[in-house]
């Protein structure tokens, strides 16, 4: 019997060519992409790496050198955005195990929290990350605002972006506060009671404001459902819109401020 000869395995270059030299690869990566032509560390390829990247929405090809200094920005804006993304991801995970129900005797919201901590793989860890990440985000957004103020970075032409930033701060607080109610424990209920009682003192239509926010005269199952939808859908949506404007304006207003 003749010896069976195995076909020679393709070399690395051949393999690379067969993966990259086809219509699908070429449709994904545009001409000039470093994934089509290979990357050499030249000025041209550094520019192309930025230009053929979805991050081109956020960053121009070149940035001011002083902006790289960690002690200028302390990465606070970027960290706030990263925490927002982290909270979105962990939040989606939590949504799989959570029911916003709090009717008398069927407080699924609270029971789900107990189950999540006790019997869901990584459930407790992800809930912890969501909680601590949320507190941290409020903190980094505050610090980001302070950093921008002390650098005078809100001055012309960046006045409007500062206003957008203040709106984003308020949205962050609202995101955090609406999430505070969701575990439906004593801590949540009474912390939110303190907050919503204050809103009831809004001049002229205080009662109406409170009624709309609570979905009733006092905090109950309707409030939980309402705040759940606000927390996981409505406020994140509005926040993303303002984030888009915020990031776009950074580039339009000439990139990072300074140097001092």
């Amino acid at each position: 019997m003749a010896k069976l000869s195995l076909p020679k395995p393709p070399s690395g270059d051949e393999l690379k060519a067969s993966v990259q030299d086809n219509v699908i690869w070429r449709s994904i990566f545009r001409p000039g992409s470093i994934y089509r032509k290979g990357y050499r560390d030249t000025s041209r390829d550094r520019a192309l790496a930025s230009m053929n990247n979805v991050l081109y929405h956020l960053h121009p090809v070149k940035v001011k050198r002083h902006g790289l200094k960690l002690t200028y920005t302390y990465c606070l804006g970027g960290m706030s955005f990263f925490l927002f993304v982290l909270l979105t991801i962990t939040g989606i995970f939590l949504m799989f195990f959570y029911t916003p129900a709090a009717g008398a005797g069927t407080e699924l919201a609270y029971l789900n929290m107990r189950e999540l901590s006790a019997s869901v793989t990584f459930g407790n860890l992800v809930r912890n990350m969501h909680r601590w990440g949320a507190h941290l985000m409020v903190f980094t957004v505050f610090l980001h605002m302070a950093r921008v103020f002390y650098h005078g970075a809100y001055k012309a032409p960046r006045e409007f972006n500062w206003v957008v930033g203040v709106i984003l701060l308020l949205l962050t607080l609202l995101l955090s506060f609406t999430g505070y109610l969701l575990p439906w424990d004593q801590l949540a209920l009474w912390a939110v009671t303190v907050g919503t009682n204050m809103m009831g003192y809004t001049p002229v239509f205080g009662d109406q404001v409170q009624f709309v926010l609570l979905g009733g005269l006092e905090i109950g199952p309707a409030t939980l459902l309402r705040w759940y939808v606000l927390h996981v859908l409505f406020i994140p949506f509005v926040t993303v819109v303002f984030l888009a404007v915020h990031f776009w304006r950074i580039r339009k207003d000439g990139g990072i401020s300074g140097p001092l």
Binding site: L55, V61, R65, N124, A191, V194, G195, L260
Partner: protein, 285 residues
């Protein structure tokens, strides 16, 4: 200059008598001399008409082999009718046409202003418009000290992302988020506090009417914060040039921070003032 121009002595003397400087008087007298000389030789003075200029330019252009098609500094296409019909030397506008165009672009004659395209034009869109660079984006003429986003900025961002991610992961691994007993609207807990970022408001509530502490003061603070760039007209970003602004903001932040710390750590059961080392920490994150 081939020949010496004779200055007009009469004009010179008059201007000197009027108190004009010697230099200006001499220049004007010289111009008057030239004018006089031209008049004497029968030359026409003043700006030339478009026809005359075109007639003068046509032989020169033909000699150079160029076409006299789209002439001059007019940025728009001439209306087809005008282009085909008048034939006054390669698309140049007569003074009347030019005046009409300027008037149209300025919105005179009851028509809407349109830069570039005459209102009566057959074109429905403008071919070219003047847009000041500042209207598009901030343009700096001098080169700035810049580096490539990749790899410099993206590497920094990636490391920061990893650091923050690991920090959150580590904290979450060792510290459990609080979860109290089931919510019960009939049982007010002894320690009843808002989330920490609202503790400043809750502390204010201790001293002021809820309308002031819960609505008016935070509302004013937000409006002031948003108005800051419009109130602070000082163009300098140097800390030494903006002591007032920095002082005001520091005061605002410290004031707020102190309220949050008092509310969070030094308030216990019944929201009474207690020291955390005496009664324990009445604070849950």
């Amino acid at each position: 200059m081939s020949e010496e121009v004779q200055i007009d002595q009469e004009v010179y003397d008059r201007l000197i008598a009027e108190g004009k400087s010697e230099r200006i008087a001499r220049a004007k007298a010289k111009a008057a001399g030239v004018r006089k000389a031209k008049e004497a030789s029968g030359e026409k003075l003043g700006p030339r008409s478009a026809e005359e200029l075109a007639a003068k330019a046509a032989p020169a252009a033909a000699a150079a082999g160029g076409d006299t098609g789209e002439g001059g500094g007019v940025a728009t296409m001439a209306p087809p009718a005008a282009k085909a019909g008048n034939g006054n030397g390669g698309g140049r506008l007569s003074p009347e046409e030019r005046a009409a165009r300027v008037a149209a672009s300025l919105g005179k004659g009851g028509e809407a202003a349109s830069i570039g395209v005459p209102a009566a034009s057959a074109h429905t869109h403008r071919m070219l418009a003047l847009v000041p660079p500042a209207g598009i984006q901030q343009v700096k003429t001098e080169q700035e000290d810049k580096v490539y986003t990749w790899p410099h900025l993206l590497l920094v961002e990636f490391v920061a992302l990893l650091a923050m991610g690991s920090f959150v992961l580590l904290v979450s691994f060792f510290l459990d988020a609080p979860l109290g007993s089931l919510a019960n609207a009939n049982e007010v807990p002894a320690i009843n506090k808002a989330p920490w970022y609202f503790m400043g408001l809750q502390e204010l509530l201790r001293y002021f009417h809820p309308m002031v502490a819960g609505v008016t003061l935070p509302g004013v603070a937000i409006v002031l914060l948003m108005a800051a760039p419009y109130v602070d007209k000082n163009p300098s970003a140097q800390p030494e040039n903006r002591k007032t602004a920095n002082l005001a903001f520091t005061f605002f932040m410290v004031f707020w921070g102190v309220l949050v710390i008092i509310g969070s750590f030094i308030r216990g059961a019944g929201y009474e003032w207690v020291w955390p080392w005496v009664n324990g920490l009445g604070f849950v994150l």
